[in-house]
Each structure stands twice: as structure tokens, then as C-alpha cells.
Amino acid sequence: MGFLTTTGRAFLIFLEATGRLMLFTGVAISHCFRPPFYLRLIGRQMIDIGYYSLPVVGLTALFTGMVLALQSFTGFARFQAEGAVATVVVLSITRELGPVLAGLMVAGRIGASMAAEIGTMRVTEQVDALSTLATNPFKYLVVPRLIAGLTMLPLLVLVADIIGVFGGFLISVYRLDFNAAAYISRTWEFLEPMDVISGLVKAAMFGFVIALMGCYHGYQSRGGAQGVGAATTNAVVSSSILILVFNYLITGLFFS
């Protein structure tokens, strides 16, 4: 009986958390379509997510492209398929590694800061203060972050795709002695629009999930510094896991 009680209680807690998250998401989305819109805040979030994440996302993409070229070259050499390096690099980056790695990096950078900022506002009653000043906290805090996440991640991933492929090109041409023109033409040869589009759709979804988790956990945080710390951890962990889950689901939708 003890085992059943424990399992049942855990399951109920899980259902409760899921329900609360669904309600939060529903309210947040409904506010995305109703005025007033805080354009200044949306702009500020876009700069924070899009522009200031460029260095970390760019570096991640560059090294991923470089290591992909090295790995696939040495791996494929075993069955004389070195010629496939360019194709492997471009497909892996655009379909998979660009969006996922950019998503995980941004989850660490942005998701954590959103949860910490909103969580601190929550525990210091600043969120309540917003309400008393006739300003809806969802519209003021959550909506700008969701919109910025949804729109900026695809742009970031597009840049990451280009930098990643360029990283593969650098290693292939300057270290593995590929012909530059041949490498570029091989890159384009098997690349289809859907490869890039699927990656950008993933990115939009990841951006939304990162912002949603950051806002949700921040908004729910209670009990001072410890609560804010827990919210930050939960935001990063849950958005990272959701990114991997949605990555699988969206890949299944596009390519099965």
C-alpha cells in the first residue's frame, strides 16, 4: 500500500503541475493577441535574446561545424566516403545541431535570467505592484518575452547555420585539404529547403519553450532567495528537456 500511495501522490503532483502550466500557457497566449502591446519592452527583449546571444551561439556553431568536419572525415575514411563530409556537415547543422545547440545555449543564458528576474520581482512584490498600477503582469512581463523568444531564435539559428557550415568549410579546406569550390558545391548539392525550414520551425518552438519556462518558473517562485534559485534551476532543466523532446517530435513530423 505504501508504494501505491507514494506513486499516486507523485502522479497527482505531476498532474497538478501540468495543469498549472497549461493554464499559465493558455492565459499567456491569449494575452499575446490582446492590446495593449508594450512595443518598447518587446524590442528590449528582442535585443537581449537575439543580439546578445549571438557571440555564444556563434561560437557554439563554429566549433560544432569544425568538429563535425573532423569527425566525419576520420570516420568516413574507413569506407572511403570522405566526399560526403560537406553534405554531412550541412545536413547535421541545419536539421539538428544548429537549432538544438542554439536552443540549449539560449536556455542557459536567457531562460535562467528570465526566471531569476521575474522570480525576484515576485518575491519582492514587484509583480503585485504592477497589478496595483493597473498593469497586467502577463502583458508587461510574459508576453514580450514569449514574442521575443519565438521570433529571435529562428534568426539566431539561421546565423548559427551559416557559421556552423563555415566552420566545417574552414577545417575541410585548411586542414583536410579539400578543394574549396568543390566543397561549396557539395554543400549545396544535397541541401533542400525543407532541411533549413525544419530547423527554423524547431528554433521558433524552442524559443517559445525557453521563454515560457523562464516566465512560468519565475512567476511561480515563492519564499525569497532560495525560491528564486530553485526557479532558475527548474527553468533551465525543464526547458532543456522540453527542447530535446520537441526536437524529436518535430523531426518525426517533418521527416517520417
Binding site: 508594450y38 520581482m121 519582492t124 512584490e125 514587484q126 503585485d128 505592484a129 497589478s131 496595483t132 498600477l133 493597473a134 498593469t135 497586467n136 508587461y140
Partner: protein, 273 residues
């Protein structure tokens, strides 16, 4: 102190003068198994300043949060100008919120905005006023709470606790609210600064002609800002009366509280059940 309820001939919004500005009836709220509000009744008249006193954990804060709409009671009625507000839709809630101004315990200033934008926040975001015009009003309100011009461009983190409270007060009065709420206005301040804040509260409430509901456990503050005092204990109002009668209430709970005695009918819960 004379009640100011009968001094005005007519309310500008047409509501009858005998309608209380704020009326809480049968308010109940529980967290888990702990019943925090237990059928609380309270009424605040027009342009009256009511202070609710009570110890920690008696339900003061929850009552205030229910009254202002930051928390939903499990049951009971909250009437503002006779209008039921316990279960308002979001749009109506925003309309009612415009009547309110609140000074939070920790001031709750937006730390990402400079002081003047904090004060002007309700004007810019709530009333869609232009930033330059809102800034002029913000500077005026800062002057009204005794803060210099140079403070306006500082950030809240650069201010002392007393200054933060003043900015919080300026923010609360900036939109000329009809009802002001004060959550422990003097907590965490030295006695002199506490008195300065009390004076400012009295002055601001009088200048606005506003109704005020405060909660505190600081008796000096309660005596200074209240027209009427109510005492909350175990989620109910157990005594209320004019501030002049607080020393002769004949209520052992009130006597114990205002004299700060450990012995008496109120037993502190020192262990969590």
C-alpha cells in the same frame, strides 16, 4: 477625531454617501488546512483612515491582499463603492485597480527603472500619459514626499530604506487614487524615519481626500495615521472603534496588544502544529 463621512454633500461618482467606500463581509480564506480568514467583516467609510492592528500570522496581510484583489477569497464579499469585486473579470479588475494606490512593505519599487519612472509608472502605463508630462507630475510628487530633484534619476537600489518608502508613497499617490492601502508602512525604519513616513501618509491622504486602509503592528504608527482602529485576531475583527478609545477599549486582547505584554488571552504560537 471627528469622522469626515458627513462633511461632503455628494460623492462625485453618484454613489450614496452612506455606502461604505470599502466593505468586506464574511471573508474566508484557507491555505491547505489553515483557516487564515475566518468570516472577517470590515467597513471603511468615505475619506476615513482605518488601521487594522494585529500580530504576525493573524491574517492582516491576507485581508489586505483580498481587499485589493491580489488574492481571491474562498468566500465572502468585497464591495468597493457598493460594487462587488470578489470575482471580477480581468478588464473590470483593471478598472477597479485604477481607484487604488498601494504602498508595499518593502516598497516594491521596480529596480530596472529610475526613480521618476517608478513614480510615473501608473500614469504612463495605466493612463497612457506622455512620458514628458508624466515626468513633470512624478517630480511634483517626489517633491511632495520631500525628495530632491536629483533623486529622480537614481535607481531604487541606490536609495536608503526610508527614501525607498518615500518613493513608494509618491508612486502610490501619483495617479490620485480614491483608496490608499498601506502594508506595514513603518516596518524596518528607525523611529524618526517612521514618524516622518507617518506624517507624510497623513498629509498625502488628507491632500487627496482619499480613503485609507492600513495594516500594522506598530502602535505609534497606528495612533498617528488612524481615524479608527480595528484589531484582527485569528482571521476575525474582534474590536473596532475610534482611535481615541483604543486605551479604554475594555477588550483584553486589545489591551494586551497595545501594551505589548506576553501574558494575556493571546497566546503566541511558538511551535508549528
Amino acid at each position: 477625531m471627528m469622522s469626515t463621512m458627513q462633511q461632503k454633500s455628494d460623492a462625485p461618482d453618484g454613489t450614496k454617501l452612506d455606502t461604505p467606500k470599502l466593505k468586506l463581509t464574511g471573508l474566508r480564506k484557507a491555505f491547505g488546512t489553515k483557516q487564515v480568514l475566518n468570516g472577517l467583516d470590515l467597513s471603511v467609510g468615505r475619506a476615513e483612515s482605518l488601521v487594522v492592528i494585529g500580530g504576525s500570522g493573524t491574517g492582516k496581510s491576507v485581508m489586505l491582499k483580498c481587499a485589493i484583489g491580489l488574492m481571491h477569497p474562498d468566500s465572502g464579499s468585497i464591495r468597493i463603492d457598493g460594487e462587488e469585486t470578489a470575482n471580477l473579470k480581468p478588464r473590470d479588475r483593471e478598472r477597479v485597480m485604477r481607484k487604488f494606490g498601494m504602498l508595499f512593505q518593502g516598497a516594491a519599487l521596480f529596480d530596472s527603472l529610475p526613480v521618476w519612472e517608478n513614480v510615473a509608472f501608473g500614469l504612463i502605463q495605466g493612463e497612457k500619459m506622455s512620458r514628458s508630462k508624466a515626468k513633470d507630475i512624478a517630480l511634483e510628487k517626489l517633491a511632495a514626499v520631500g525628495l530632491e530633484r536629483r533623486v529622480a534619476d537614481l535607481f531604487p537600489a541606490e536609495l536608503s530604506g526610508g527614501m525607498q518608502k518615500r518613493v513608494g508613497l509618491a508612486r502610490a499617490i501619483a495617479t490620485q487614487p480614491e483608496i490608499l492601502f498601506f502594508d506595514e508602512p513603518t516596518t524596518g525604519l528607525d523611529p524618526i524615519m517612521a514618524d516622518v513616513i507617518n506624517d507624510l501618509i497623513v498629509k498625502c491622504v488628507k491632500d487627496l481626500g482619499a480613503t485609507a486602509l492600513s495594516i500594522t503592528h506598530d502602535m505609534a504608527s497606528a495612533r498617528k495615521i488612524a481615524d479608527r482602529i480595528a484589531m484582527i485576531y485569528k482571521g476575525k475583527i474582534i474590536w473596532h472603534g475610534p482611535v481615541s478609545q483604543i486605551d479604554n477599549s475594555g477588550n483584553p486582547y486589545v489591551d494586551q496588544f497595545i501594551h505589548g505584554r506576553a501574558d494575556g488571552p493571546i497566546q503566541m504560537e511558538v511551535s508549528q502544529s
